[in-house]
Symmetry: C2
Subunit: 657 residues, 2 copies
């Protein structure tokens, strides 16, 4: 085994996180930040084109490539793009507020927000808290307790036309007296505003002893076919307090939606699948509450996004007709309902919203992403793609939106991959390979010892193996190479990423030909979907003015490498933005803004769905895409050139030998 | 025992009921109709002043007193007031449609309705049914099942802006396919319309296979402290299909609201009382369904009225603060809720409305009555009185309404009376006494053998005993009379109404001095309340332009005799209208008309409550009213005269003896 030559160790200190990390000289500064657990925003995924990962170098020196994204003034101040900088000395680095991942997405004033994502939304959560002190009743003023409360809310906060949940009426008399007539009222806007003239009727959903306005939380969830992701949101301060992810408990009942729908047709099957996903969600909620030190009774509502099948299973709606032609979902819009009625372990007062959906395979997750990323607000032609087990794509702008689903399979979420795993700590995400000795350099999420490979890691690995000739364009291993890392295994040939001793799992972590084949089929489905949908509306991939990539990856996806394997069209890199989990983003924004909830319904109505499964073009495109990057080399000019060079160097090598 | 002299037997045949009854010559025709079980409307209670009991004499002759209520034309046609007619020969009598009890109250075009009761309401039940045939989905039209349904309702019935219950979403896919896309949708308007510009949002609460529009029912209930009364309503035809009554199961836990509130403070007490009244209601529902041959699944909603304590107990709201100064109820308005959540045995889709209330002792029952009788719509000054265990009174008109509660005790519902019973079959309601031999003539509801005495019977009996000198104005028996019927008993002196052999219960039915005392206290509370409330707003009883009497009596109350005992003020008889159970009437009208539901809330807001319990005047007036009819003889001039004559005749008798 060849060891890497030793490099000089340097210390990088990140502010305001107050975190240190030791790296080798020449390390990419953005990678160092990720490794240190400092969340840094980079919508282009590190290509240098978005300018969102700016940092201030307070002490020390970096070697930096300057792009147009850094102004003269900024450059003089010491501001650099982290992704374009390499560590030269010990450093003190300040992450600018607009570059911090969560802040950037969530801060109300965020410039990045205004530029890259949804615009024009106000911070006006559907859930509100009002503290009120009421005059105690007297003989001359002995109206009912509820009337007293509503009168007080009208006088103090100009709230009128409210409805009240029966549970509130039930506990009100005692709470008013126990609290000495000082209570906090929680209201929720549940109805969508149908016309400008119609007024919303806020619903009083809870009343608490004393002043609890500081404790004002909601939950945002994305239920993926493979993974479930949740966030605990602070509605008082507009920020994410904790996030968690876990495998969807339904994974044991089938990897994809079709097998799960089939399972539902067994006696008790639907109920079982509903229970297991609820158990997954309950587990994540427990973890989120523990992380943030929040009590469950202060959770006020919950927004859930997910694909059509996932939402129907979660709600206990039989998905039978989703898989039978002509593929009809039960409902495009499900009214808000009590979360506890589904078995979610939150207070009885908590309402749950689900995102509206478009069709059987175009669900609330993509509506959530389109709303969250503001595609429906801009004139420019956008290709929005949500990479996941049930891949969904949208093409359009503020005038029109078309959508389609392309069943990618679970490879992008680490499913069906020998050492695949969700994008959590210990997952290999970064990958580089020395073209000379074919030795790898891997980086994991959380900088832990490797446990497995996540979806974005898989893309990076396959791209790296392709670009160094370890695998061919057909995805098969070149078995004739001077390295022990390529070897026959139980699933055909494989490449060893980490030796057992280097891992947490105590065995070699490998990528196999079967894994590569799974990834190729997944990316082929997504690319063919894009081509087919674009053609259906008279455009081509090169017309896209913006590409927004969402997906259940970790903090980033490498655009260059994704193009290298043929997942995205080979168009200028500065058109790409990576927004992470778009579905969860939308769910979060809907918790922060009632406008967003309204927009979700508008967007769902705007979308036209195309069924690819019965489209002959799609099948043709799919077959053509089962190659790295594509059977038609002209579709990927930049790869054509790169692979051409590789070919030449191999030829030279062979001649030298 | 003196036997009545034998009279000629005559047969009266009633149409369209097709019922015969054999009566003695000279029998009052309205009494005969009641005895025959033919429900005949007579809002004045038989005084001849309302003109609502008109019948057509098709064959035979009656001896009739003609009043201004019968026009020349009608008189020529053979139309007579039943209450003013005596049977002279065998008869064939046709009850006019507007005189039929239920039809009169319910028929949309009823003249009686327009004249005597609430006006200006449209027949527009909050519950509606729509049958729809939908086009099955195709590949080109595969919108969700719910969207298909809503699109269909919009196209076919112009329904838009609907909300949908989650349970409907849940069962929709299967029902649509099982019914071959032909279903009936039930919608309900739950929200009160706050402004003219706001649109109501109908709520889809149920979807059924095929066309079920013919099966369209609701339930109206009045929960009284002593009795619970229910009606099954046909919303397709706007009529009452069945009615039932039973003792409120809570009676075993205390006769009045105060003892029940006290019981609630025991562990599990509230839950127990909630359960028993729900059990009572479930029993009545079962009976109503059986009577009418209706299936429970076709019940669509339920309207419940009752006094504040009864409603809070029914809803499981702790009534603790109702009896503690300053007497505050939990809520003036309780949002509609699922009936099944309270344990009512109806479908999961059934919503339950309760009437809004005014104060701790002025409940939804009186709001219901005021709305049902249209007091709030007219200029004329009205005294509205609801006779019951918790007597409630209202004075006002379309401009203002004041109200008060006067705890009468259960005597008017037969409670605390030795042989008291609810006004159901077998209850003695009619009573006459031969002034010479002091022998009684009794008539029972349903013309069954007597079982006991109902509230209206009690009034008639006490008035009769008073007017013949069997009891004095202090309610004590004259023990010096030539009849075996007055005798000492276990509760002091008593008068035997029926000998054991004449009854269903196999023992003598009597009225005791204790019974009379209970009635006197009850009527004193009502009359003192009326006087006190009138004075509070600067009027007197003689200013009343209309007196509307509601109460849980049978089909009528005798106004003359009620005045005789001092229950109502001694003003011209043609100002009196008896509407029966006003609370149930309001509940029924709210089932028939959404406007009425809105009005209920307006009326509740309009009312000003006076607390009599802390009013010194009330106590003074109450003491003064503990006499028959009153200690101040000038308050009851017509009785002063009548009792004066009696005094003279007694004097004469004594002199003769």
């Amino acid at each position: 085994m060849t060891k890497k030559s030793p490099h000089k160790k340097l210390r990088v200190h990140f502010e305001p996180d107050n975190v240190d990390i030791v790296v080798e000289k020449g390390e990419n500064l953005r990678q160092a930040a990720i490794a240190a657990g400092v969340n840094i925003y980079a919508s282009c995924g590190g290509a240098g084109t978005c300018g969102t990962c700016k940092v201030l170098i307070e002490q020390g020196e970096v070697e930096s490539k300057r792009t147009v994204k850094v102004s003269d003034k900024e450059f003089k101040q010491g501001i650099r793009q982290a992704c374009q900088s390499r560590v030269n000395t010990d450093l003190v680095v300040h992450i600018l507020v607009e570059s911090r991942l969560e802040t950037a997405v969530l801060s109300r004033e965020s410039k990045v927000m205004a530029e890259a994502l949804a615009t024009g939304w106000r911070f006006n959560p559907p859930l509100s808290k009002f503290f009120i002190e009421l005059p105690p009743p007297t003989t001359g003023d002995n109206i009912s307790d509820l009337s007293r409360l509503l009168r007080g809310l009208k006088q103090r906060y100009k709230l009128s036309n409210m409805t009240v949940d029966f549970d509130v009426v039930k506990k009100l008399p005692q709470i008013l007296r126990d609290s000495d007539w000082k209570v906090t009222v929680t209201t929720l806007v549940t109805a969508i505003k149908p016309r400008a003239v119609d007024r919303r009727r806020p619903r009083v959903i809870n009343v608490e002893l004393g002043d609890t306005r500081e404790k004002h939380y909601s939950l945002a969830f994305d239920i993926g076919t493979t993974g479930v992701r949740g966030q605990l949101l602070d509605l008082k301060r507009g920020k994410v307090l904790a996030q968690g992810v876990d495998y969807n408990g339904q994974v044991s009942y089938g990897a994809d939606v079709i097998t799960r729908i089939a399972y539902c047709q067994k006696k008790g099957g639907l109920k079982k699948l509903q229970q297991v996903v609820v158990a997954t969600i309950n587990g994540i909620i427990e973890e989120l509450l523990a992380q943030a030190g929040v009590e469950v009774r202060h959770i006020g509502h919950m927004v859930v996004a997910g694909n059509t099948t996932m939402l129907q299973l979660f709600l206990g709606l039989d998905p039978k007709y989703i898989r039978l032609a002509p593929y009809t979902p039960a409902a495009n819009f499900v009214p808000p309902l009590k979360a506890s009625s589904l078995g979610i372990k939150v207070g009885e007062h908590v309402y749950l919203f689900t995102f509206p959906l478009v069709a059987s395979y175009v669900g609330g997750d993509i509506i959530s992403g389109i709303v969250g990323s503001g595609v429906y607000q801009r004139k420019r032609l956008t290709y929005y793609v949500d990479i996941g087990t049930n891949g969904e794509i949208v093409i359009g702008n503020s005038e029109w939106l078309v959508t389609a689903a392309c069943s990618a399979g679970p490879a992008f979420e680490g499913g069906g991959i020998k050492h695949g795993m969700l994008a959590t700590n210990g997952a290999i995400e970064e990958f580089d390979i020395n073209p000379t000795n074919l030795e790898p350099v891997v980086g994991t999420i959380g900088r832990e010892k490797p446990k497995g490979i996540c979806g974005s890691g898989l893309i990076n690995i396959v791209a790296g193996l392709l670009e160094t000739g370890v695998i061919g364009q057909d995805g098969k291993f070149n078995t004739n190479l001077p390295t022990k890392r390529v070897r026959p295994g139980s699933d055909g040939y494989e490449y060893v990423l980490c030796w057992a001793s280097e891992t947490q799992i105590g065995k070699d972590i490998v990528i196999t030909e079967v894994d590569i084949d799974n990834l190729m089929r997944a990316k082929a489905a997504m690319y063919a979907g894009c081509q087919t949908l674009a053609k259906s509306v008279g455009t081509t991939c090169s017309d896209f003015e913006q590409v927004i990539i969402a997906g259940a990856f970790g903090s980033s996806i490498d655009i260059e490498k994704s193009i290298a394997i043929g997942l995205f069209p080979d168009i200028p890199r500065d058109r790409f933005i990576f927004i992470g989990n778009g579905s969860l983003l939308g769910a979060r924004l809907a918790s922060f803004s009632t406008d967003m909830l309204d927009d979700a319904r508008r967007v769902a109505r705007m979308m036209t769905n195309f069924e690819l499964s019965e489209n002959a073009d799609f099948m043709k495109n799919y077959i053509a895409a089962l190659f790295l990057p594509h059977t038609n080399a002209d579709e990927f000019p930049s790869m054509k050139e790169k692979l051409g060079r590789l070919q030449k160097s191999k030829l030279k090598q062979r001649m030298t030998v």
